[in-house]
């Protein structure tokens, strides 16, 4: 039942990955230039996961994200203008400047928020999946969480309920080998988080998170299963984050070697995919260059928009604490 991506889907995934990459590279520079306040967790290196999964989803399907959430929103169709405006803290941003990078969301796209609390997404996604089943609307929820997050009780509780209630959900562990500065071998006694699936009564699948087609195929199967009433899947994607835990250079700690970073970069998800696309004559070098240029142009526009946008007025401080009819 594994579906192969057709050429349009391949081009679509490429565009999503390139959008994430340039958005994040630009954001990293802006942060270093002092344009983006607060904390910024970059998704560079992990693009294949968001792209290979989100391409299966409709706006009516929901996702929950993490502190490293820009890639998820972009792949779900996020608007650069409103994203940059939010990162700058502007009134025109996705959260009117209230949330920033760690709380960026788009409810119309079913993106139920990045999250500042590690492990907070899965229970919320279980709630969305429950509502989908309750309403019998055929929608699927996908929750993203890290290897570090997989050690939070909230993630186990959510996974257990997903399995018990046979919910239409895919639980995606983006295993980039580290929770902050702690390597996976120092935070859990297993290698594959997917091994835990057995304990939740759901299939566990490990996939190469640097290979967008592999992610696409595994995710397709899991999402089909969820949508057709077959219950949840724990999908673990092995990946790597290129930059520091927070920001670009972060705290400058030596918790991983340059060689290790270089090794992973040799399997850069975009490079790998572009080689394949050109080998298979799906996109020419020029086609791909055009995608990059278009995306960069969109980013210039978005940054201009964010720059030109006003800061939120202090009088809005108490807005949106409650719903007011």
């Amino acid at each position: 039942m594994t579906s192969q991506p057709n050429d349009d889907t391949l081009r679509d995934m490429h565009r999503r990955m390139v959008r994430i990459r340039h958005f994040e590279e630009t954001a990293g520079k802006m942060m270093e230039d002092g344009k983006i306040p607060g904390a910024l967790h970059l998704y560079v290196g992990q693009e294949a996961i968001a792209a290979g999964i989100m391409v299966h989803l409709a706006d009516t399907d929901q996702i929950t994200s993490t502190h490293r959430g820009h890639g998820h929103l972009i792949a779900k169709g996020g608007d650069f203008n409103r994203m940059y405006a939010e990162l700058f803290g502007k009134a025109t941003g996705y959260c009117k400047g209230k949330g920033g990078s760690m709380h960026i969301c788009d409810m119309d796209l079913g993106m139920l928020g990045a999250n500042g609390i590690v492990g907070a997404g899965p229970p919320i996604a279980v709630g969305a999946a429950f509502a989908n089943k309750f309403k019998d609307n055929g929608a699927v929820a996908v929750t993203f969480f890290g290897d570090g997050a997989s050690n939070e009780g909230s993630v186990h509780e959510a996974a257990n309920m997903a399995g018990l209630f046979k919910l239409p959900i895919v639980m995606v562990c983006e295993n980039n080998g580290y929770g902050e500065y702690t390597a996976q071998k120092n935070h859990q006694a297993i290698v594959d988080v997917a091994d835990r699936a057995a304990g939740y009564g759901m299939p566990g699948v490990v996939v190469d998170g640097m290979d967008v087609v592999a992610v696409y195929e595994a995710a397709g199967e899991a999402i089909d299963r969820a949508r057709s009433g077959g219950g949840p899947t724990l999908l673990e994607c092995k990946t790597y984050r290129y930059y520091d835990h927070v920001g670009v250079r972060g705290m400058g700690l030596s918790y991983r070697t340059d060689e290790e970073v270089m090794e992973w970069k040799k399997r850069d998800p975009i490079d790998l995919f572009e080689a394949r696309l050109s080998e298979q004559d799906i996109m020419s070098k020029d086609d791909m260059a055009a995608v990059h240029e278009t995306v960069k142009g969109e980013l210039d526009v978005a940054i201009q928009f964010a720059n030109d946008s006003p800061m939120p007025d202090p009088s809005t401080l108490l807005d949106d604490v409650y719903y007011v009819a």
């Binding site: 209230k98 949330g99 500042g116 609390i117 050690n151 902050e180 401080l317």
Partner: protein, 333 residues
């Protein structure tokens, strides 16, 4: 302020004073250990555990998984069975992840067991807004803890008090939270080299004054001191009191001050509504009602989560200006 046992004071930043306090506890108490997320290899995300792994080794300085309920639970269990854990909760906001272990286990175990258990556990955590870290990384939740019988709660504002509070907390055989402030990490101050305690439950009159009392704690102490200088222009001679410990609270020092000054204001960074200032204000009116010449004022954050935007956050967190303005309003100036 407790007198140091030594005159050997140097200027240290707040963060280094924290490290020195923890280090001296580890030297002093062989059953003490430090556990938390990224406290060992990384030396803590604020640098407050720097060097401790190298000096004390993996047995006593322990990186944990991201499992706050598990970490606090580990501390409770180890404390109940003879260790003296120092547990780090990276951001105070993460209390949400482990509130059962804090509220229903740590705080109540001794009482529920009829005194059969002893829980010498210290929890270090970071509070405070001002760094655009938004609603889940900026809170001051001390009121949550002060409402729980069985816990002690300290909120040191200076390097001196940070080190001394940590040592006092670790020597105490009850659960003690030491709430630190992430905006103050670089704040310099005099810190004696030898170990010393800032006694739990003893307030510090940081600035003596005659006709107005401000009770301020955490980072707001510094803002209140600046406001006090500003108020001099209007003939207000402000006494600034830092309780340092919120639970147990040094009521006497505050009441004595108010009896002298006849007017009082409480300043904290937490949301004003149902904040710890409400408790202090209630105590003042109960115990010094006849001495008051003005309503007891309170300054705190508005009733909203902490906003991210640089256009909003500065309007959210109280500062010297807003404190002075509220003082003038309440004093009818």
């Amino acid at each position: 302020m407790a007198e140091a046992q030594t005159t050997e004071a140097r200027t240290l930043p707040y963060v280094a004073a924290i490290t020195e306090g923890i280090r001296q506890v580890l030297l002093e108490q062989e059953n003490a250990f430090v556990a938390g997320e990224d406290v060992a290899g990384a030396g803590g995300v604020y640098g407050s555990f720097k060097g401790l792994l190298a000096e004390f080794g993996e047995r006593r300085v322990i990186d944990t998984p991201i499992s706050e309920a598990g970490i606090i639970g580990l501390g409770v269990g180890a404390a109940a069975t003879g260790c003296r854990p120092i547990i780090d909760l990276m951001f105070m906001d993460f209390l949400g992840e482990c509130m059962d272990e804090v509220a229903n286990q740590m705080a109540k175990m001794r009482f529920m067991f009829g005194g059969a258990a002893q829980l010498p556990i210290t929890v270090l955590t970071m509070a405070g807004a001002g760094l655009n870290l938004a609603a889940q990384h900026s809170q001051s939740l001390e009121a949550w803890l002060c409402h729980l019988p069985g816990l002690k709660v300290m909120m040191p504002a200076t390097p001196y008090d940070a080190k001394g509070s940590i040592i006092a907390a670790a020597r105490d055989s009850n659960p003690v939270f030491v709430i630190l402030n992430k905006m103050s990490l670089g704040l310099p101050g005099e810190v004696p080299e030898d170990p010393y305690e800032v006694p739990i439950g003893v307030a510090n009159i940081v600035r003596p004054g005659t006709n107005f009392t401000i009770v301020a704690f955490g980072r707001m102490l510094h803002e209140a001191l600046t406001a006090a200088e500003d108020l001099k222009a209007d003939g207000i001679d402000t006494e600034v009191i830092d309780p340092i410990t919120l639970q147990p609270f040094d009521t006497d020092t505050v009441i004595d001050s108010v009896k002298k000054t006849h007017r009082a204001m409480i300043v904290h960074e937490a949301v004003r509504f149902a904040g710890f200032g409400a408790e202090i204000a209630a105590q003042i009116q109960e115990l010094a009602f006849d001495y008051l010449d003005a309503p007891v004022a309170r300054v705190g954050a508005p009733f909203s989560p902490v906003p991210f935007s640089p256009g909003l956050e500065p309007h959210y967190v109280p500062n010297a200006k807003t404190i002075a303005a509220e003082a003038r309003r309440t004093l009818g100036l």
